[in-house]
């Protein structure tokens, strides 16, 4: 199973600043996903990041607010830009290590420990 490391694990940020979260995987993976988990909520998919192409954002999320980089098959970053208190959340990186036996989109997701951001 893939091992995922996220940095920072937590941070306290000032309103209006930006923070970049790093996600490092111990194996090469095609698909990486960024999620947000607000207090008391389940996971909300922000975007899918594939190496060599622009990230695909879900409804309600835009590149200007959450720019993503995917320079290679083991690394990705998510930046939370111009933060407000509403951005206080846990941000999770995940990877689909391989498609499941059922075909595409049926692979197991492995998650990092998350980055807990508090915006004051």
């Amino acid at each position: 199973s893939a091992v995922i490391s996220q940095k920072p694990s937590r941070d306290i940020c000032q309103r209006g600043t930006s923070l970049t979260i790093q996600c490092q995987v111990d194996s090469q993976v095609t698909m990486m996903f960024w999620y947000r988990q607000q207090p008391g909520q389940s996971l909300t998919l922000i975007a899918t990041a594939n190496q060599g192409s622009e990230a695909t954002y879900e409804s309600g999320f835009v590149i200007d607010k959450f720019p993503i980089s995917r320079p290679n098959l083991t690394f990705s970053t998510l930046t939370v830009s111009n933060m407000s208190p509403e951005d206080s959340s846990i941000y999770l990186c995940s990877v689909e290590e391989r498609p499941g036996t059922g075909g595409a989109n049926t692979g197991e997701l492995f998650f990092g420990e998350g980055s807990r951001l508090t915006v004051l």
Binding site: L43, E58, L92, N105, G114
Partner: protein, 108 residues
Amino acid sequence: GENVGLHLPTLSVQEGDNSIINCAYSNSASDYFIWYKQESGKGPQFIIDIRSNMDKRQGQRVTVLLNKTVKHLSLQIAATQPGDSAVYFCLNDYKLSFGAGTTVTVRA
């Protein structure tokens, strides 16, 4: 994305009893579902999955049931243990989750 919540946000269960956690989904196009467990301060972990051409799948102490007619998914945990205390939620093949999750607390 999905926009249907879980039936119960919290579940308190006596150690040794069976637990049942539910999910409802709205997207009929979903072809694959996964249950995840998230312990406090950790990232979610895969528990079990099921494809839409199945109505039941069993793992170690866990069983997932899928009722496509009513778009309902359930996770049954047999002989619940203290280590099962966590938040449980489900995702579909579009990597979207349903609801806020169910927090399971196991009483000793």
